[in-house]
């Protein structure tokens, strides 16, 4: 995946100020930074849920959301964009499970309606994925009957059911009670071990350090510093990175 010169403006608000980023297949990249730094917006631009004001995104060498014509770049139509999004999994802070569908239907609806695979095949796939996230027994439950951690694991299974080549995690554990964070991080770590390409926006510094190949520190719409976790967490060069990390770590001191 490659991001080139990405800008996002909301009116006078300049949220992303020129982001360039390469992520190779199988790489796990964590994005950290203070709230309002543009981490989430960046992630949402990758699958075009948020339309970039400027810049280009390539996944698997294909331009996302746009095509290059004689007169520059133009938006592609909704069907083509949907096909591109099908290859990019996304996990949201607020889970966003479909409340009117059971757990297994949540996982199966994408494969059946979008990939048009048979219901039997979709059922096999959902069974396997729900096993993997440890929720095989909740197949027929509705989302409202599950804990936040369970809901988020279903959301991960729902994204994986599309067999994406890239997974985006938008603060996947921020809305969870502290005792439920671990079960979701375990599933994500398992996924990382399986070789999935992942971009993870997170406030879980220990997790970012353990799982990522690379950590990116963002502030005020820019990438301030990036590198291997050991470098960013333990010998950060930039003053803003140091300030952010010491503020975050100080908060954790009492433990």
């Amino acid at each position: 995946m490659r991001i080139e010169g990405l800008h996002k403006r909301y009116g006078p608000l300049h949220v992303l100020k020129g982001i360039d980023l390469d992520v190779t297949a199988g790489e796990k990249v964590s994005i950290i930074g203070p709230s309002g730094s543009g981490k989430t917006t960046l992630l949402r631009c990758v699958n075009y849920i948020e339309r970039p004001t400027e810049g280009h995104i390539y996944v698997n060498g294909h331009l996302v959301g746009q095509k290059q014509g004689d007169r520059g770049f133009a938006d592609i139509d909704g069907g083509a964009l949907a096909r591109q999004r099908a290859e990019i999994g996304m996990v949201f802070q607020r889970f966003n499970l479909f409340p009117h569908l059971t757990v297994s239907q949540n996982v199966e609806i994408g494969p059946v309606k979008v990939l048009k695979i048979s219901r039997a095949e979709a059922r096999d796939r959902s069974r396997e994925l729900l096993n993997k996230v440890g929720l095989a027994s909740k197949r027929d439950a509705y989302p409202e009957m599950l804990s936040g951690g369970q809901q988020q694991r279903v959301a991960i299974a729902r994204a994986l059911a599309m067999e994406p080549k890239l997974m985006l995690f938008d603060e996947a554990t921020s809305a969870l009670d502290p005792e439920l964070v671990g079960e979701v991080l375990n599933v994500m770590a398992q996924l990382a071990a399986d070789g999935m390409t992942m971009i993870i926006v997170t406030h879980e510094m220990q997790f970012a350090e353990d799982v990522s190949d690379r950590v990116i520190f963002m502030d005020q719409g820019q990438v301030v510093e990036q590198g291997p976790p050991s470098h960013v967490f333990h010998t950060p060069h930039h003053a803003r990175t140091q300030a952010f990390l010491s503020a975050v770590l100080r908060k954790r001191q009492p433990r």
């Binding site: 699958n47 096909r83 099908a86 999994g89 949201f92 966003n96 479909f98 309606k113 979008v114 599309m162």
Partner: protein, 223 residues
């Protein structure tokens, strides 16, 4: 013979005429209801969609059909279209009239329902590769309909009673047949009491459905 004795004597006749009117009332109500739902969903989808032109079109439809009394609309459809050569029988004219009028009302109801569904639902649907139309059909509308179900049921009760206006374009429904019986026998009190009974018999079960739906909606809100 007193009026009440005459009524008793003529009762089988009254009931059979009112019964055939009741069937027409049900036909106009059900037809108008189905047309209202279809038009309401269609225009609500346009209202919440991304095309500005279609949005403006749907907006104009709602404003026009909400601003003109349904009786006027019925006259225009029945007499007005007749004048330019499109001659409709009273029943189809009434179904079309109530459908267009109810569709405008339900457009706003469905739109409110769609707006009430969390935006994250659409985003999640798009993120697994659905198009906007699929997201609306499979994810947003089913949730929106649950939210607005009580309003739709209330609309159905209103529509049932409003169909009495179709008597103005000579649709042989319950009220129209009642007028005819009154003209024939001058037993207005007795006949309209019977008519009220017929409307009650149709409305009360619908009211029970509304109460049940409202209870269910409150329960699911708590959950």
């Amino acid at each position: 013979m007193t009026d009440w004795a005459r009524t008793w004597h003529l009762l089988p006749y009254f009931l059979s005429v009112l019964w055939s009117g009741t069937i027409m009332t049900v036909i106009v109500t059900v037809g108008g209801f189905v047309a209202s739902i279809l038009l309401g969903v269609l225009f609500a989808a346009l209202r919440t969609g991304s095309s500005r032109l279609l949005n403006a079109l749907a907006h104009a439809y709602v404003e026009i059909f909400r601003a003109v009394p349904v009786l006027t609309q019925l006259f225009i459809i029945y007499f007005g279209l007749g004048a330019i050569g499109i001659r409709l029988s009273p029943i189809p004219a009434a179904v079309i009239g109530f459908g267009l009028n109810g569709g405008a009302y339900l457009t706003e109801v469905f739109r409110a329902g769609i707006d009430a569904v969390n935006k994250g639902q659409t985003e999640a649907a798009l993120s697994i590769g659905m198009t906007k139309l699929m997201a609306l059909g499979y994810i947003v509308l089913p949730q929106a309909i649950r939210i607005v179900l009580p309003s739709i049921a209330n609309f159905a009760i209103g529509l049932l009673k409003d169909t009495s206006l179709a008597s103005a374009v000579a649709a042989p429904e319950l009220s129209f047949n009642a007028h005819m019986l009154v003209d024939e026998t001058f037993l207005s009190t007795q006949i309209y009491l019977l008519v009220a009974g017929f409307y009650l018999a149709m409305s009360l079960p619908l009211s029970a459905v509304v109460r049940m739906l409202e209870r269910r909606a409150r329960r699911s809100q708590r959950a």
